[in-house]
Symmetry: C2
Subunit: 435 residues, 2 copies
């Protein structure tokens, strides 16, 4: 049987999972690749560190040059996180003639154009199924399986850590800080979970998907984003009373005048598929003009789900499919003019949820509704609760307003003006409502 020699660079959570699939299930990968995938080297920083997998003698090395200088190694799973040294190592591997498989979305979102262009120049390929939504094969589905469609919209829960946190806050009533600590103990959240909870990770994944689905050259940091790091448990509770859950939704929608993109905590109606995605699961709903809506749900992170995606890419690369796809689709090509432009976020028409703390005296609601009317925002529903302790004489009470569809810019300006009203204290919480 033919054989392709593989190296893994970075033997952490994902790398160890991939090594296990290659070592323990060689028969399976051989059957699906029509050849043996042989793990020849695994590069780490520290040889003495205990690894999550037993490697045959001679496989583990601290020296990247053991891979670079070995012409027998054709395919490399590059599984170091972050930008550097991952970027430099990727370029070195490409120069050395290796095809690459990676799970590093931060690197692709930041340096995708450079890396893909260099790979194409050198006649190499980069596969990255594991970079978005872990075990859900969303990259292959969008760029191959649904390729006869114009994708009209994509919306998804792309960050498992955030979803775990909001699920626990919502279902257990736990505080944000407690749940983050629990997520870290369970291994869902990193020691520094900032990029997960502030929406960066979801925005980076959305940028990658938008590129594939819409041919949009998106700089991830241009995507308007909010995280769940400032989500108040009160909003989860009010949302539930209104029939919604709050989820960190990444959203892309093709409109006549461009592509709408956003990442943020969003009210999603209870009972709809995205609202029911719990814990560390991810989900994506894609609408194609021919296929209609297609919904995918699965584990968005974790050792073996992510390794499943990396190993499928290794098989595809060994078989030769990746090279064909990579050459044909010109992923992230800087030579291709972008097919769509981004819409001004302010013109995106959506429904909104506002929560504010208002003075409990005559005229307050009238002042607020006057601001909304001025911005032509019509009100769908209002909940004015009694104060938390039930005293109707309390000074300040929470007020929740759901609007009808309105341009996001108008909603933002109205919120700013309402915030400046004397009867209002504290910030006006403003969340999208998924229609």
């Amino acid at each position: 049987m033919e054989k392709t020699n593989i190296a893994i660079v970075g033997l952490g959570t994902v790398g160890a999972g991939v090594a296990r699939l290659l070592l323990d299930h060689g028969d399976r990968t051989a059957r699906h690749a029509g050849q043996t995938l042989w793990l020849k080297k695994a590069v780490v920083r520290d040889l003495s560190k205990k690894r999550d997998v037993d490697l045959p003698a001679g496989v583990l090395t601290e020296s990247l040059s053991d891979v670079i200088n070995d012409p027998e190694i054709e395919v490399v799973a590059q599984l170091i996180g972050g930008l550097e040294p991952a970027r430099t190592i990727m370029l070195q591997l490409l120069e050395a003639g290796k095809d690459i498989v990676t799970a590093n979305k931060a690197l692709l979102a930041e340096h995708g154009a450079e890396l893909f262009t260099r790979a194409r120049e050198l006649g190499r390929s980069i596969a990255f199924e594991a970079a978005v939504a872990g075990g859900i094969p969303i990259i292959a589905n969008i760029s191959q399986c649904l390729s006869a469609n114009q994708i009209l919209s994509l919306e998804g829960i792309l960050n498992g850590t955030s979803n775990f946190i909001v699920t626990q806050m919502d279902e257990k009533g736990s505080s944000y800080d407690d749940v983050v600590r629990q997520a870290q103990e369970l291994g869902y959240a990193e020691a520094d979970p900032t990029m997960d909870v502030d929406g960066t990770d979801a925005a980076q994944k959305l940028a990658i998907l938008s590129h594939l689905a819409f041919g949009a050259t998106v700089v991830w940091s241009d995507i308007p984003k909010d995280g769940i790091d400032r989500l108040d448990p009160d909003d989860l509770r009010y949302a539930r009373q209104l029939g919604y859950r709050i989820k960190l939704i990444a959203n892309a929608r093709l409109a006549d005048d461009g592509l709408e993109l956003s990442v943020g905590p969003t009210l999603v109606r209870i009972g709809t598929p995205l609202a029911e995605v719990r814990d560390a699961f991810n989900a994506i709903r894609v609408i194609g003009d021919a296929v209609g809506p297609v919904f995918f749900h699965g584990l968005g992170a974790g050792q073996m789900p992510t390794a499943s995606a990396v190993a499928a890419d290794l098989i595809d690369t060994a078989v030769g499919r990746t090279r064909l796809t990579f050459q044909t689709l010109e992923y992230f090509s800087i030579d291709q003019p972008p097919r769509v432009k981004l819409r001004d976020a302010d013109t995106i028409v959506e429904r909104f949820y506002f929560r504010l703390s208002v003075a409990n005296h005559p005229g307050t609601l009238s002042a607020i509704t006057a601001v909304l009317a001025k911005h032509k925002i019509s009100i769908a529903s209002v909940i004015q609760h009694e104060s938390e302790d039930g005293a109707t004489t309390a000074n300040r009470v929470p007020l929740v307003i759901m609007t009808h569809a309105t341009p996001a810019g108008a909603a933002r300006r109205a919120a700013d003006e309402i915030e400046a009203l004397p009867a209002i204290s504290g910030p006006v919480v403003r969340l999208r409502v998924k229609v």
Copy 2:
């Protein structure tokens, strides 16, 4: 730009949809294929019939030899249904050196081994994404995207017509016959819907998926199957009272001693994803040993969803991916020993729902429970309703029993014995309960 010449054979519902994608969206297919997909011929039986698509002059023909004898035509979408002449035409096209794309699951389930073997001998490929679950790309997902996994189970709603019928019966309380008529008017059900409603179509699709997921050489007619054609609205109602919906579920599960396969109306707990699949949608839940559970939901039939799958296959075939996959995976190879054997259906352990009409006199329940005890079937719950008209003195009352997990053979034998008790009239309804 390079060009691949395509022909469509059979310009019915699906064929016309594929023609539209090729003609109206040539830019899109060209971008994803890196070349033009040029519709050169469309073969029909009757030139005078009005078509659902406008074809350029010279494309429509009654003569298959216009395709067979044209060496410029490299890829053919074979979209005639049924076994003959579809089988003969496929063989002729293969002999003539064409790669094939098809949506005909009945043909593949029946003659897959012959057709795939002949294609391999001739160095040709057959792609069949549209044959299972319409627009959901389940073939590619199982055979490529999840290829690093041992698939442990597959369960799905694979027949849109049946699902439409049970959804309408359940939600509107309509009778089976009324809903079938409505489904025919809406174009969901064929003039003769037998293969859809008796479970044949789902069993054929399950046979194809089992082949890909488990390497099982399954003769579809060996799969134990029941349809929804004898489903009683009473059972939908009792199931709902117990917290379940009834769905036509195709099920495959790998056990230590072989592969369990079944198709039949099954109680699925309300709120779980499969229970919430409505109308003509399909859904599949796959569990892989690395990836965990992955859930897919989308339109399982209809002109454009099915055309989306066929056109993706045409692109994959033109790009060259299909050939690599087809060569590597040895689909339906008769040379490959089957990797798993089928389990004896009687040994499959499941929960069951029984409904029977019992004489309303002392000792009846005791006689029934004695039969169950004899077969070591333990009871999870019993609903003995008053008779429909509320009269407690009625002669016969419905009795519903939910069992704990028990071998299917024991459940069947117990049902037969209960049916023979003098206090029982009519058949004992016996349905699986999804755990």
